[in-house]
């Protein structure tokens, strides 16, 4: 009797309704998996120093772009009236009214730090963007087509690499630029694309031999399609990392130029020419140099930390870890 009941139970268990959930389970499995972007993001967030760098960068952007309106220190070029003894001491020491002090002619150093930060970040980011686009263009063509094209483009790159960078920068900026941010951006971009080009070429050389590129060829994809749809996204990791590092590098380049008086020309503020201005008064008021110097140092350091974090997060062996 019991056995009979059991058989009965078994029979009722296998009804079509019971078979349905199988499909739903499959769907659930799909949804549980994280997307590639999510994996990268999670891995990046686990890296404490990189997250710290990223937070600092976000703070820095907020500070530079929204700081002037929030704190109403929005007149970087205005000469504030300051007492005579302060002029002799190389400017006001930090007060409530001027948290970063002033220089000897009454520039509000906080307002200048924020305005200069805008310029420095703008120069760093946009020259990076131009350099990366140039580098990807040249590197991808060289790596994908190989042979004589590769040879010509890479020798061209070598020529740029073999020129002493700072010397060329000084000469060119003295003759060709008008001290505006735009001209400095173009100049820096034109002299910093080479490492990206080499990197992209290397990636393309390796990736174009991958089987999925061959597979894409078998469905009739054009070269352009192969280069920018199939190969480039797979090289994105190293390119993003080098882009991040390049921003820091370019901010330093801009500062060096401005420090020596070749880059952004006063009255437009940049961290570099703030140091240049403060340099004369270093003996009496070292804060004038110290503040923009610290800002450059911390910003570049943060970019490098973020770059390193991205490098780890964009590990090519992406697995569900």
């Amino acid at each position: 009797m019991e056995i009979f009941e059991q058989i009965n139970l078994n029979q009722t268990a296998v009804t079509p309704d019971e078979l349905e959930p199988l499909l739903e389970e499959t769907v659930e499995l799909v949804q549980k998996r994280r997307s590639q972007g999510r994996i990268i993001f999670d891995r990046f967030m686990r890296n404490r120093t990189a997250v710290f760098g990223l937070l600092f960068l976000i703070l820095m952007v907020l500070f530079c772009y929204f700081g002037p309106t929030v704190t109403s220190h929005n007149k970087p070029d205005l000469l504030h009236p300051i007492p005579l003894n302060a002029v002799l001491e190389g400017g006001l020491r930090p007060t409530l009214q001027y948290p970063f002090g002033t220089d000897d002619v009454g520039h509000d150093w906080l307002a200048r730090a924020m305005a200069g930060g805008q310029i420095s970040l703008l120069v760093g980011l946009s020259s990076m963007l131009i350099a990366i686009i140039l580098g990807i263009g040249i590197g991808s063509v060289a790596g994908f087509f190989g042979g004589i094209v590769d040879n010509l483009l890479m020798r061209f790159t070598d020529v740029f690499l073999s020129v002493p960078l700072y010397l060329l920068l000084f000469v060119l900026s003295a003759t060709f630029t008008d001290g505006s941010p735009k001209s400095i951006i173009i100049l820096i971009a034109a002299l910093s694309w080479m490492y990206t080009a080499r990197l992209v070429r290397g990636e393309f050389l390796a990736l174009k031999e991958r089987e999925y590129v061959l597979a894409a060829r078998t469905i009739g994809a054009r070269n352009f399609h192969l280069m920018f749809r199939h190969i480039l996204p797979n090289a994105a990791g190293p390119i993003i990392v080098s882009a991040t590092l390049l921003v820091g590098n370019n901010i330093i380049l801009e500062s060096v130029l401005s420090f020596f008086g070749f880059g952004i020309q006063p009255p437009t503020a940049s961290w570099g020419n703030m140091i240049n201005l403060g340099d004369n008064l270093f003996d009496v008021n070292p804060l004038l140099v110290f503040i923009p110097g610290m800002l450059i140092f911390l910003t570049v350091l943060s970019f490098n930390l973020v770059g390193d974090g991205l490098r780890d997060a964009l590990d090519p062996y992406m697995t569900e870890r």
Binding site: V30, R217, I219, H230, M318
Partner: protein, 359 residues
């Protein structure tokens, strides 16, 4: 004309290397009729995959070069086409599946985009239409919950599933010919059968001809209408599948068939192999390339045998001087095989003895 969809005529594909030219494919001829399934068999390095890549005109540049012959597809010679015309053929009229589905899908593109790619290139579909077609293709190759899976990335699929996706990509534009280059080698045995069944079924539905490249004779027996046996860049025997398995006429085919392990064999019996290795294709022997390994070999084998019909069957071609069905020849070959293995064992024993002495 007409009879064959694809006709490979005396195809020669060489690779330039420092030591000279590797004759990877050296005078291969065979034909594929519309809707027919042809198996190409042979051991590693005998030019099967290079033949496939030659048909697609995707030889690795600059090393690979066509040294002669022709590839007629739909009555036009693929070797004469411009790169642009060739792109229309690839994916549009000839699809291809590769051995390792793990590396053949782009890890940065969703599966749906990769299937849609061929559709967008050849049928000029827009994004949404391509996506819809991709979903129905995924359903056709038996992927459950295709609407959700279409937006997944390849790393979220198992090996068998990825191979299904590859099949969907290759068949997206309903090509007339599918070249499957060892489609099951990288897969689990249980999945292998499913994939073959799928290729077989889908291609029958679409009327697609198939060239199945493999070294697994079981796969060929289960699926193909005709078999081409290749050795050292040459075709050594070709016949219908039934004929070839029932009545193999080339010593190499005999060896291949004999070397398939069988369940009813005695335990601990030595597995049968073909002794030796394929010849160096940079300096191929002037005679029959199989001669050094062949137990039937005779003096006449120093000249290259032509690919001639077997007496009484015009569709069964073999490139061998010897009639392997002759009992006298068989007895002779068996004696030689035994003598060879004895010699080999003696050498092994000698080495073992000398190693013991050293201790």
């Amino acid at each position: 004309m007409g009879e064959y969809l694809l006709e490979v005529q005396d195809l020669k594909t060489y690779f330039k290397v420092r030591a000279g030219r590797v004759r990877a494919v050296d005078g291969v001829s065979f034909g594929v009729r519309p809707g027919e399934k042809v198996g190409v068999v042979g051991e590693s390095g005998c030019g099967k995959s290079v033949t496939a890549l030659s048909i697609m005109r995707l030889l690795p540049k600059p090393a690979g070069e066509y040294a002669g012959g022709g590839i007629l597809f739909d009555d036009q010679d693929l070797l004469d086409l411009s790169e642009r015309e060739m792109r229309r053929i690839r994916g549009g009229k000839i699809g291809m599946i590769f051995q390792d589905p793990m590396t053949c899908l782009n890890p940065t593109m969703t599966v749906g985009k990769q299937i849609g790619e061929a559709l967008r290139i050849h049928l000029k579909l827009d994004k949404d239409e391509a996506q819809k077609r991709a979903i129905s293709l995924l359903q056709q190759v038996g992927i459950p919950a295709a609407e959700e899976r279409v937006n997944s990335y390849p790393h979220q699929f198992s090996g068998g599933m990825r191979q299904r996706v590859m099949i969907a990509i290759a068949l997206a534009c309903n090509p007339k010919l599918l070249i499957a280059d060892e489609p099951t080698t990288a897969l689990d045995v249980t999945v292998q059968a499913q994939i073959l069944e799928l290729i077989n079924g889908v291609c029958s539905d679409f009327g697609t001809a198939v060239i199945l490249i493999t070294h697994d004779l079981g796969v060929v027996a289960g699926m193909c209408d005709r078999v081409v046996v290749m050795y050292a860049g040459k075709v050594v025997e070709t016949a219908t599948t039934n004929e070839l398995f029932a009545n193999p006429r080339h010593p190499y085919t005999l060896g291949l068939l004999a070397s398939v392990p069988r369940l009813d064999e005695k335990r601990h019996a030595q597995l049968k192999t073909i002794e030796g290795a394929p010849p160096n294709l940079i300096k191929p022997p002037s005679g029959c390339p199989f001669m050094p390994r062949c137990t039937f070999a005779r003096a006449i084998c120093r000249t290259n045998p032509p690919l001639d019909p077997v007496e009484g069957n015009a569709n069964h071609l073999k490139a061998c001087w010897v009639n392997v069905t002759d009992p006298k020849e068989q007895a002779y070959a068996e004696r030689r095989r035994l003598a060879r293995s004895e010699k080999q064992q003696a050498v092994v024993k000698e080495i073992a003895a000398s190693m013991l002495e050293e201790k």
